[in-house]
Symmetry: C2
Subunit: 382 residues, 2 copies
């Protein structure tokens, strides 16, 4: 009998070599080699002066993509959904009225957040596939003068709809409400002008038009929003997301206070991804997304595939298309994945089984990707 070296042998699990996919769903998108390489650099401490310097650069670059001068602009150490939660748990207290514009999955998630904060949600509802109607928001605010916060999704990932953030924020301000905006899918792909529009709190994610790995949620808070956090009557219900504590690490003047251990290597990746956007320039990136959308739309037209969303509300980076009649949703997506290594997105919620979502986000918005997607669809749907 062999002498066992351990009575607790570990499970035998092979090394994981992911297949090389072309990611054309609603995110994550393809991550450029430069960003992947950055993530593989040696880990250093989360209070190392070199790391703190890099954090400052990430804040500077984040302010650029958000087009804001808000000092409190940084990535939350968790996915975009936690960015959403950070905005709500800090700005909503029990009993607060929060008007939420709902036209898809992520508006519904906002409502769920308001409830869990003890707030009272008032819903402005629009159809899935339609933009938020400013007139409805205005009417709702008139009948709810007690409203403290208005929240909306600029770009609904579940439907591919772009709403008019500037107009919605303007209406909210006329009524003295704070504005929380979801720009998870918009940031880096279409204009997001935090200061010009007067957005008080916004959150995004790393894996869409920023082209980084998922797991980080850039957020920005206006000085007015922070005043509200300071003036709370109740403690923030989340220790991790309490901005009073987080600020000591990300904004500590004259030294950083340990709060949690930041995700070092993913932040290297985000730093590099943001550098790529700064190199290209935001306006060039926005124009590129629009060009790729036009190209895809033309090709889809030749295949007889229609878009769900009206032209004036179409988001260039997430194209929601109606599944052609007689087509087996799951089978087509599976064939695209296994035979073409191409991932496109399924419909979510009310649109499940009715649409596909073709994403061209950030680094993924390239002509070769559009052509590969169109030719794969052409063959599979033949």
């Amino acid at each position: 009998m062999d002498t066992p070296t351990s009575s607790l042998p570990g499970p035998q699990v092979p090394v994981f070599n992911p297949p090389k996919r072309l990611l054309m769903g609603p995110g994550p998108t393809d991550v450029p080699e430069r960003v992947l390489a950055a993530m593989a650099r040696p880990t250093i401490g989360h209070l190392d002066p070199a790391f703190v310097e890099m954090m400052e650069q990430v804040k500077t670059l984040s302010r650029y993509v958000f087009q804001t001068s808000n000092p409190l602009t940084f990535p939350i150490s968790a996915p975009g959904s936690v960015g959403m939660e950070a905005c709500f748990v800090n700005l909503v207290e029990p009993g607060d009225t929060v008007v939420v514009c709902v036209n898809g999955v992520f508006g519904l998630r906002m409502v769920e957040n308001v409830k869990r904060c003890g707030g009272t949600p008032v819903i402005v509802e629009d159809a899935w596939g339609e933009a938020v109607d400013p007139a409805k928001l205005r009417a709702t605010l008139k009948s709810h003068p007690e409203t403290k916060v208005v929240a909306f999704v600029q770009a609904e990932t579940s439907t591919g709809v772009l709403s008019d953030a500037q107009t919605l924020a303007g209406i909210a301000h006329e009524h003295g409400a704070l504005v929380i905006m979801d720009c998870v899918t918009s940031l880096g792909g279409v204009p997001v002008l935090i200061d010009a529009w007067g957005i008080d709190a916004a959150y995004s994610c790393s894996q869409k038009c920023l082209s980084c790995t998922p797991g980080l949620a850039p957020v920005t808070f206006s000085p007015r929003a922070i005043e509200h956090v300071y003036a709370r009557k109740t403690p923030v219900q989340s220790w991790f997301l309490d901005l009073n504590l987080v600020m000591g690490y990300w904004s500590g003047e004259g030294g950083r206070t340990y709060h949690h251990t930041a995700p070092i290597n993913p932040l290297y990746g985000l730093h590099e991804a943001l550098r790529m956007i700064a190199e290209e320039g935001l306006e060039s990136a926005w124009a590129r997304h629009q060009r790729m959308h036009d190209l895809l739309k033309a090709g889809l037209g030749e295949l007889g595939i229609e878009l769900l969303v009206k032209p004036e509300a179409r988001l260039p980076q997430v194209n929601t298309v109606l599944i052609p009649d007689g087509c087996n949703d799951a089978a087509v997506r599976k064939q695209l994945l296994t035979e073409y290594n191409l991932e496109i997105g399924a419909g979510l919620g009310a649109l499940a089984g009715k649409v596909w979502r073709i994403g061209m986000l950030g680094y993924g918005a390239r002509e070769e990707n559009v052509q590969h997607c169109l030719s794969a669809l052409r063959e599979v749907l033949r």
Copy 2:
């Protein structure tokens, strides 16, 4: 005048090349090349069948390091502090009595979590540098028969103290309480036997004895704990951490439900880091940490440096040493970092300025590191 290509030019930020440090603080620790390389592999979708298969392997490997058969064993997509919060927000409801054993920073953080859940914390206090006293816990539970949860930190990262988890959990169970255990610093370095000890909920992190990048928090919940989550009278206050929802993604039978987008590349890293532990075997890893501790202790003795913690409660992987008289804490740590590229940890909370924390965690627990640390200290303190 040059024609501007953009009116929104991006900030000029150089590429970030981190210095190569030897990380001998309380974490993060050095990440092996194998793990760094894994993180740089191509990103795929969070619902890709290949990714789902990898998730299953991460669960299998996590069950091994936790020594549990709990089906609900997986990494939370956020740092260890969020692992803590996940345990408390799911198991504590407003009005619940929670006995928390406090002998350092992380016990205090548990108290903070209990309060933010609306629970009533009852504190069992021991000095910083001492283990939790089982007799005090027993006495407290006798006077608080209404206690629903007992929470303690197995290995206090702030002091380098190991408490007797098996005994503490046994006492809690005698009184019918659920047990939440922090094994952030213990997991992979000393025995953590979730099933044998009857721990109901435990959380750890990726960047200590698992030797991965920070940002993930392995957790495990017993079937009994999950029954309590199902039986809650109030919703979990965090949408992101509500196990009722998270289980649909990490444990969905016959298909995964989208919840949030998992941090793909960091999970590649964790998969590889866990594979390394499985290859070595837990008992070999525990023995290696003990050997390195003995080696360090002997060397520190030659330098006249004393350990804070009594031998019976010393954690091998975080060695808390008393700063020698006349020594400038910050200046020495700065010199070690800048001249030797060596990071050691400062004291936290009540021990700030009084101790250093020398970590030898996971991949960092190697003889060459111990020798480098000792020779650097010898030169700097001369």
